[in-house]
């Protein structure tokens, strides 16, 4: 039972990071019907920017408490990521809005290669250690342990998601976003400035990815220029699992995927009588994804999507 709770906590932590990134995918998809394949690399830029800010902080004000430093790192990484993502939209997607559907996919992949190469030039090729800022003393929760970083991650993810929901449901720009994803043409006729909405969507998605990126670094203590690939892929799967275009779907899909993955890794040995080991962890996410989509072709909370490749 203790293992179960422990894996559940690990899954929740992993899943809330997936959810933060998945929101970026799903929001962009909602307004543009486009998969922003470079989004995983925005997470990487967030982690790298956070690390640079921490290095500067450590030389300027080494006596600040860990929480404050981490907070400053996140606050600094957010505008960097926003800028990067808005530039991506401007350069790679805006001119292709009426192009064949696969064209922006290819520019997105090109941008992803470019971002990784730039990161490699700036921060180097080898993995960088991410400083441990919070006390490594774990907190006991039932029979399981949760580190302070993980706890902070959960809190931050919850706060960000609540803020996002409030933004989307209560503010003017949120209403414009909902209208645009419902029907961009009619939203335009009603006076919604679609370019403004799209830029806002990319910026908000990037901010969430920045939070996830810095916390990813703090949690796993090592970052690299290619780190964005796997979380990006999983988060995209999570967004699809939840029903792409739906922000609640992305949250649920992300957390579900994280929990399935870590429970799967914990129990796959017992389930298959030792035939398959925990290195099959990644299979779980995809197998569940395939099963769910076969039963429910538009995801858990999704609606029908456009049917052209």
């Amino acid at each position: 039972m203790d293992t179960f709770i422990q894996q559940l906590i690990n899954g929740l932590v992993l899943g809330s990071m997936y959810a933060l990134v998945a929101l970026g995918y799903t929001m962009v998809y909602g307004v543009l019907n486009l998969i922003n394949f470079a989004h995983g690399d925005v997470l990487m830029i967030g982690a790298m920017a956070g690390l640079t800010i921490l290095k500067i902080l450590n030389s300027v004000a080494p006596d600040l408490p860990g929480y404050v430093k981490l907070g400053i790192a996140i606050a600094g990484a957010i505008p960097v990521c926003m800028l990067v993502n808005v530039i991506i939209e401007r350069v790679a997607y805006r001119r292709l809005r009426n192009a064949p559907r696969l064209a922006p996919l290819i520019t997105a992949i090109g941008i992803s290669i470019l971002l990784q190469t730039f990161a490699m030039m700036i921060w180097g090729r080898s993995p960088l250690p991410f400083p441990q800022l919070l006390s490594s003393e774990p907190i006991k929760l039932g029979g399981a342990l949760i580190s302070q970083t993980q706890l902070l991650l959960l809190v931050l993810a919850a706060v960000s998601m609540i803020a996002l929901v409030l933004l989307v449901e209560k503010t003017k720009i949120g209403r414009a976003m909902r209208a645009t994803s419902e029907n961009p043409r009619i939203a335009g006729l009603m006076g919604v400035d679609s370019n403004k909405v799209i830029v806002a969507t990319f910026a908000i998605g990037a901010a969430l990815a920045a939070v996830a990126g810095v916390m990813w670094g703090a949690n796993y203590a090592s970052i690299q220029f290619a780190m964005g690939f796997m979380p990006g892929l999983k988060a995209f799967s999570a967004a699809v699992l939840g029903g792409i275009g739906n922000i609640y779907g992305a949250m649920i899909g992300g957390i579900l995927l994280g929990i399935i993955e870590s429970l799967g890794a914990g129990y796959i040995g017992d389930l298959t009588g030792g035939f398959l080991g925990s290195h099959y962890q990644d299979i779980f996410a995809f197998v569940v994804l395939i099963i769910v989509l076969t039963i429910r072709p538009s995801g858990i909370m999704g609606e029908r999507v456009a049917d052209r490749a």
Partner: protein
């Protein structure tokens, strides 16, 4: 170009056949010319030909039938690993691990197959490997197609992507308890291809030189001719398919699945055929890759490769065979050419190396993808629009807001 070369067999057969013959002659002479600058250049073209086979196969799935497949490289892997099992000592290792884990079953297998296989593994000839690779990969294609028939657009993309990753993870981990794939180390010592008793890898001690009759040529040239032959065969099959009843059914599904169904097309079977035909091309390419390299490992079959092949199709001109060939050639050869060219170029211009070749290569590769797509969104050499309905855009609302309609 269009005025000089003309492939319109129906209207101007003489000109079309002479253009084809001219291109064929150039293709046949090419390796002897390129070999003057070193075998590595021919090798680059060999790899490019493999990618062209892959791109043509994916073009059937994505270009003709409009099914976005992001896990296409899995079929390439299936072909390559099948060859690795059936044309290398690996099968001996497989049997040995079975004997260690399940002695009774293992002894039974050895009894059936004979002790020879336990000692040396299986070494099938290329005449069996190629059709087997096509059939096995085709079966895998249908296997992937069956559960995904209901899915559309981006949902299909993510499921195929997941399928590709699953195959890769299995290749990485299926070395225990039974050693199928030798895990991350990969399978070594795969037999080179033998055609009529001549090994294209060159006989031992011949320094990778192939002797045919009185001629001798480097091994890479011999493989070039084999791959070229297969490429031409695949191009021929693809073009014939495109204008067949099946090809028109694929295009109909791509344009409007519901309407296609209403016209009496069995969309289920036609889609499955698209998946498995595309997959079988990749299976053959994979078998060739394994024999050519003599080595396979899971690294060669990552998602990045799937994406690269998709990029070739889209960049070249989706659904258009000459465009896809061009896309494959450019994207497969460009990084290699850049690898050879950027360092000397920097030396010449600046007198020293400012940016590492590897980094610059990546930069230019990414930049090329973005710039080509921005300037030519339908690809470098897109399909002529003849198959579109004249009023094809009538059901799409005009993009008044500058946003793609949902």
């Amino acid at each position: 170009m269009a005025s000089f070369f003309d492939f319109d067999v129906k209207n101007t057969p003489g000109k079309a056949y002479s253009s084809m013959a001219l291109i064929l002659v150039v293709l046949l002479i090419f390796p002897f010319f390129a070999a003057q600058f070193g075998n590595s250049w021919v090798r680059i073209i060999d790899i490019a030909l493999l990618y062209i086979m892959l791109a043509l196969g994916l073009n059937i799935v994505v270009g003709f039938a409009g099914l976005l497949d992001l896990g296409y490289i899995a079929f390439y892997a299936v072909g390559a690993y099948m060859t690795a099992l059936l044309a290398s000592p690996q099968f001996a290792a497989l049997l040995e691990s079975v004997i260690n884990q399940y002695p009774v079953f293992g002894e039974f297998l050895v009894g059936v197959m004979g002790p020879e296989i336990l000692a040396n593994g299986i070494h099938l000839s290329v005449w069996l490997i190629v059709p087997l690779a096509a059939v096995v990969a085709g079966l895998f294609g249908a296997l992937l197609g069956a559960p995904t028939l209901k899915l559309r657009g981006d949902y299909l993309a993510i499921v195929t992507l997941g399928f590709g990753e699953i195959i890769r993870i299995f290749m990485n981990n299926l070395n225990e308890p039974i050693n199928f794939t030798n895990g991350p180390q990969g399978v070594n010592l795969i037999d080179p291809i033998r055609v009529f008793g001549v090994s294209l890898g060159g006989e031992p001690g011949s320094r990778a030189t192939v002797f045919v009759g009185g001629f001798s040529m480097p091994s890479v040239n011999a493989y070039y001719f084999l791959f070229l032959f297969l490429c031409i065969a695949i191009v021929f099959v693809t073009i014939r398919l495109q204008h067949s009843r099946l090809g028109r059914a694929w295009v109909a599904i791509r344009e409007d699945e519901i309407a296609a169904k209403a016209m009496g097309i069995n969309t289920r079977n036609v889609k499955l055929l698209a998946f498995s035909m595309g997959a079988s091309f990749a299976g053959v390419a994979g078998a060739m890759f394994a024999s050519f390299q003599g080595f396979v490992s899971p690294e060669s079959f990552s998602l990045t490769e799937s994406i690269a092949v998709l990029a070739m199709v889209v960049l070249g001109g989706i659904g258009h065979v000459p465009g896809v060939i061009m896309g494959g050639l450019i994207l497969a050869a460009l990084p290699e050419v850049l690898r050879h060219a950027v360092e000397p170029a920097q030396q010449a211009v600046f007198g020293r190396i400012i940016i590492e070749a590897e980094v610059l290569r990546q930069l230019l590769y990414g930049l090329a993808m973005v710039l080509i797509m921005l300037n030519r969104p339908s690809g470098l050499w897109p399909a002529p629009k003849s198959e579109d309905r004249p009023d094809g855009d009538i059901d799409k609302p005009a993009p008044a807001s500058g946003v793609i309609p949902a």
